[in-house]
């Protein structure tokens, strides 16, 4: 319990936990989905499950961009990188994600030019410093990350830098939520809405979930207290028979989002008719592609991309886990063939993936604030 001293207001945590117990009807089993992988990580890390009554269950959602990327896209990106002029640049999170013939990191070990960048702007710098090479930025992420990629493409255009392109795998969160709600084996009571995605898109895009589907949504921060307060707000709505979108994370998320970011995205990207999500299958209008006006900076419009489709290893049940139908440990491979060191499925790669979080924190007791706070 060494972290407890640093923790803000443990008494408020205890209060929120009590309030959750008070609000939850004992006869109902609540299933609440946290959409964002950052929340999933925090929930495991802080052992928040221990602060909830057994009839309030958190279902881990699809909001981990590394986890939902189909293997074929990695194969496509690495296949182009076999050309000697290519440099494959991506965030560190991507480096250990397995493709059919290994991860980007393993491809690097086999001699491909694979570089970690921490910003798309740095991939652009790499292009500037290597004028005889072609730098392909392998872009992943939801709306938190997509605006930065968009601005980078705008900068490439205004500089007239042509040895740079983006292999765009940006996805959008709303269609994924719709796919989950449409899935017949899924019953959910409400959503803890993503925090940082919402700094960009704001809260309005969730309104249909409340209005049409009758499910409350609370956009939440990442601290333990934020997440517990969001659950309190959800349960309060459910108790009152309400369904609306509320913003718990007002200190960072403006209701209308970030207009400059939305403008950059709208300028550079359009929706793909459909895109494959690992575990969820094809979802219509769920991903971004680069507009024709910026074809010069689009790897897919500029080069012949093989368009590989790979079925996931049959034994891995990533799809069921991703949809919340199975718990990570219920997958046949969990902790045996599939571990964070040797991941088979992508949910085991990123710390935001529910399998990796479960593996890391379920065995070794996390920082449990539950131990420190009497509930």
């Amino acid at each position: 319990v060494r972290f407890v001293d640093e923790y803000r207001a443990p008494e408020l945590i205890a209060k929120a936990s009590e309030e959750i117990r008070r609000l939850a009807e004992p006869s109902h089993h609540y299933r609440i989905m946290e959409v964002c992988g950052g929340h999933t990580h925090a929930i495991y890390r802080f052992g928040l499950k221990d602060l909830l009554p057994t009839n309030v269950e958190l279902i881990h959602g699809p909001g981990c961009p590394v986890c939902v990327l189909p293997m074929g896209r990695i194969d496509d990106g690495l296949s182009l990188t076999k050309r000697s002029e290519f440099i494959f640049a991506a965030f560190g999170d991507m480096m250990r994600v397995p493709g059919t013939h290994g991860s980007p990191l393993e491809s690097k070990a086999r001699g491909m030019d694979v570089r970690i960048v921490y910003s798309p702007a740095d991939a652009l710098k790499l292009a500037r410093t290597n004028p005889t090479r072609h730098v392909m930025f392998f872009a992943i992420g939801f709306e938190t990350t997509a605006p930065s990629t968009a601005l980078t493409i705008l900068r490439a255009k205004s500089e007239g830098l042509h040895n740079f392109s983006v292999f765009c795998n940006h996805v959008t969160i709303i269609p994924a939520i719709r796919a989950i709600l449409d899935s017949p084996d899924m019953r959910l009571d409400g959503f803890v809405g993503p925090g940082h995605v919402s700094t960009v898109i704001g809260c309005r895009p969730y309104e249909w979930i409340a209005q049409d589907e009758g499910k409350p949504v609370v956009v939440s921060g990442f601290e333990p207290l934020d997440i517990l307060q969001s659950i309190v707000m959800l349960l309060r709505q459910l108790r009152n028979g309400e369904a609306k979108v509320e913003n718990q994370y007002t200190r960072v998320v403006p209701w209308e989002g970030n207009r400059a970011a939305l403008r950059a995205m709208a300028e550079v990207f359009e929706l793909r008719p459909y895109f494959e999500w690992r575990g969820l299958g094809f979802i219509s209008q769920s991903a971004l592609k680069i507009r024709g006006a910026y074809a010069e900076w689009d790897t897919e419009q500029r080069f012949a991309v093989p368009g590989v489709r790979v079925t996931d290893p049959k034994a891995a049940q990533c799809g069921e886990v991703l949809k919340g139908v199975l718990k990570p440990a219920q997958c046949k491979l969990f902790g045996r063939e599939c571990t964070p060191e040797q991941p088979v499925g992508a949910l085991m790669v990123s710390s935001e993936g529910s399998c990796a979080a479960h593996y890391t924190y379920a065995q070794h007791k996390p920082i449990t604030i539950a131990n420190a706070v009497s509930v």
């Binding site: 960048v117 921490y118 930065s148 970030n258 970011a261």
Partner: protein, 101 residues
């Protein structure tokens, strides 16, 4: 990918108004201000940074809280590593440095 890192604006780049130097617990790097085009950003303002771009202006207290959350999440070092990594490929920089995984 979801990390947002709090930093303090130290100075705006005189030659390029789109850039500013931020300080993240002592590490100083340039970040892009293009996504805050609708807000005025000045030295001593606090921002949340994501993949090298300032995403939101926040209060100093919220910045401190965000850093504490990152540390509690076990992401404090990853955040500093990310900030250190910004600008690896500046002209004249050590290009090879970024190649190591």
């Amino acid at each position: 990918v979801c990390l947002e890192i709090p930093g303090k604006i130290v100075e705006l780049d005189a030659s390029n108004p789109q850039l500013a130097v931020v300080d993240v617990v002592g590490v100083r790097r340039k970040v892009d201000l293009g996504l805050l085009a609708e807000e005025s950003v000045r030295p001593n303002d606090w921002v949340l940074i994501h993949v090298g771009f300032a995403m939101s202006k926040i209060s100093e207290a919220d910045a401190a809280e965000q850093m504490r959350t990152l540390v509690m999440l076990g992401e404090g070092e990853a955040a500093i590593q990310e900030v250190r990594g910004y600008g690896l490929y500046e002209l004249g920089g050590n290009e090879e440095e970024g190649g190591t995984a």
